[in-house]
């Protein structure tokens, strides 16, 4: 019998996700599911904290690994999921989506992310990815009377299936090369005499990975899905899965294919540069804030890849710090879009934020903090995230990439600052933007989110140290 203890949080989430389905079926009352979801995520956090150790433990015949990086990322996943659920409560209630299905799908998505984060085998990696993707497709399509949402879900599904196909083909080529699906064994037996097959496998793996991350040139789906999905779902799928996507990259490329680092570095460099250019330039012309944030995500994923491609501990921990930072910022930014939407009205154009400072100075301040942080201005958290990545990049000798990244960040600052300008210097709408039901806990959590971005920006060292320690402990 396998040792079940390392996977205790996963088993817990699975059990409770099934329970949420049953609760929905028998009570048909969204509040029970909501409460149970929050309890599940909190319980999983407690279990993860109690089973944490600095040692790496393998379970289920090497399919599953429990290490420090995984534990930290899982804790962040629970936290981000809890925050996104609280933010979206009013939005979901207004649109009749406040039902058990939403929460059950969300929990299954979280379970998929946990499996991805803890995968030590191609199969478990793929299994987690599919569980996550299938739940997300259904969540995007949840508002089934909305034409845009259904179209987005269809696009997401078709492109997601294509990406999975590419990924699987890459995995099968690597399997043909090494004779093993265990990432550790793959790393030990990668055969460099067969350079063609290795390159082929890597190209397919990275193409699939690029699709899932939303890195250019595989980014076409990102703006459409972010735009078309109900904003509460955009909030979830635009932030939380990025943590798992980072883990996915690390498991695949560093755990599994580290000997081929020279090969994948080049490919990642191309993807990162294209992402930075496309993301930042295309975001400038967007008038829809969801689309703008989608393009900004593409640019941020480029930055994430820059950290990974440095190929050093410093680079990996910088990338991990970056992804945690990004999740905090995107939760705040999308949370604000969700907050300003009310029954039947979506605050999704940049124009809808006009003069927010005059009517809601505090909300405007939080949004401004998110935007400035995403632009990478000190003293906000986003500045240190970009700084650590650039330091690692220069340390690894990729000076030209660092120059490109800085130039593109400068261009990117334009569209973030435009939102700030619209909020502070333009006259407000005649009809003020006030959410119909402004719940106290949502306001408090949004404020906390803003405070976290500011305070962690002033004192970033603990978070940076934590990421560096987790990476050191997990990848020896």
């Amino acid at each position: 019998m396998p040792d079940l203890l390392p996977a205790l949080p996963e088993i817990f989430v699975l059990t409770l996700a099934c329970a949420v389905l049953l609760v929905e079926a028998y009570t048909k009352n969204g509040y029970w599911s909501y409460a149970l979801t929050q309890l599940t995520l909190l319980g999983a956090a407690v279990l993860t904290v109690f089973t944490t150790s600095a040692d790496t433990v393998y379970a289920f015949n090497g399919l599953f690994v429990d290490d420090l990086m995984g534990d930290v990322l899982k804790l962040m996943t629970y936290l981000a999921a809890i925050v996104s659920v609280v933010y979206s409560r009013t939005y979901l209630t207004d649109r009749g989506m406040f039902r058990g299905e939403y929460f059950a799908l969300l929990l299954f998505a979280v379970l998929g992310m946990m499996v991805m984060i803890s995968a030590a085998h191609f199969l478990s990696l793929y299994l987690g990815l599919e569980l996550l993707s299938l739940s997300l497709y259904a969540m995007v399509a949840l508002q089934r009377d909305s034409k845009v949402a259904t179209e987005a879900a269809m696009k997401y599904f078709v492109l997601g299936a294509l990406a999975s196909g590419l990924l699987l083909y890459g995995m099968s080529l690597i399997y043909g090369l090494t004779g093993s699906l265990h990432l550790a064994e793959v790393a030990a037996t990668v055969d460099f005499r067969n350079q063609t097959v290795l390159a082929f496998g890597l190209v397919f793996l990275l193409a699939g990975l690029g699709f899932k991350l939303g890195a250019a040139p595989f980014h076409m789906w990102v703006p459409d899905i972010y735009h078309g999905a109900p904003t509460a779902v955009t909030l979830f799928l635009g932030s939380v899965p990025k943590l798992a996507a980072f883990a996915f990259v690390m498991r695949l490329l560093v755990d599994g294919l580290h000997p081929a680092v020279g090969d994948w570095q080049q490919m990642l460099a191309v993807m990162a540069v294209v992402s930075l250019v496309v993301g930042n330039l295309a975001a400038i012309v967007q008038t829809n804030i969801k689309r703008m944030l989608a393009y900004s995500t593409i640019a941020h994923m480029g930055f994430l890849l820059l950290g990974v491609l440095s190929g050093s501990y410093a680079g990996y921990s910088a990338a991990m710090f970056y992804v945690v930072t990004y999740v905090l910022m995107s939760l705040g930014a999308f949370g604000m879009v969700v907050y300003l939407s009310r029954g039947g009205f979506e605050a999704e154009r940049v124009d809808d934020f006009r003069g927010l400072n005059a009517t809601h100075p505090w909300l405007a301040a939080v949004m401004a903090m998110m935007m400035l942080s995403m632009a990478g201005l000190p003293p906000f958290l986003g500045f240190y995230a970009k700084l650590t990545v650039l330091q690692a990049l220069v340390g690894a000798g990729w000076l030209w990439l660092a120059v490109v990244a800085v130039l593109m960040s400068l261009i990117g600052a334009y569209y973030y600052l435009r939102v700030v300008k619209v909020m502070y210097f333009d006259a407000p709408h005649a009809e003020p933007l006030v959410p119909a039901t402004a719940a106290g806990d949502v306001r408090a959590l949004l404020s906390l989110n803003g405070a976290a971005v500011l305070l962690l920006g002033i004192l970033p060292q603990p978070l940076i140290t934590l990421c560096a320690y987790a990476i050191q402990a997990s990848f020896r």
């Binding site: 019998m1 699975l14 099934c18 389905l21 049953l22 929905e24 079926a25 028998y26 043909g176 090369l177 067969n194 063609t196 097959v197």
Partner: protein
């Protein structure tokens, strides 16, 4: 290593040939004297009753999907039953957990009314 795929390529080519050659042969060798009666569509000797592309009730689709879900689990149960003696209590409990998860789905679809036709 890529030469290992040669049989696959060969298989595709032969498969294509087997599909294409009879059609070509029929087209080239058969006598062809069409008239308007021969070319008009018919259904069991009569004029066609309605368009072949008719709409199905979406409920058939739902029932088909649910059937496949519960039918496929049999593919899992048979091999399990054959080796049950060897895999012992652990194998037994694993299957019970799998079936329990399936029952959750069943209870959900039942309560949601997916099994009711009207």
């Amino acid at each position: 290593m890529l030469e290992n795929y040669f049989p696959v390529l060969l298989f595709i080519l032969v498969g294509l040939a087997i599909g294409v050659i009879p059609m070509l042969a029929g087209w080239l060798l058969a006598p062809s004297r069409p008239d308007s009666e021969k070319l008009s569509p018919y259904e069991c000797g009569f004029e066609a009753f309605e368009d072949a592309r008719m709409k199905f009730d979406v409920r058939y689709y739902l029932v088909a999907i649910l059937f496949i879900l519960f039918d496929l689990e049999i593919a899992f149960l048979f091999p399990w039953a054959v080796v049950l003696g060897e895999i012992g209590l652990f194998g037994f409990v694993s299957m019970v957990i799998f079936l329990a998860i399936l029952v959750v789905g069943f209870a959900y679809e039942w309560m949601k009314g997916a099994l009711e036709w009207e």
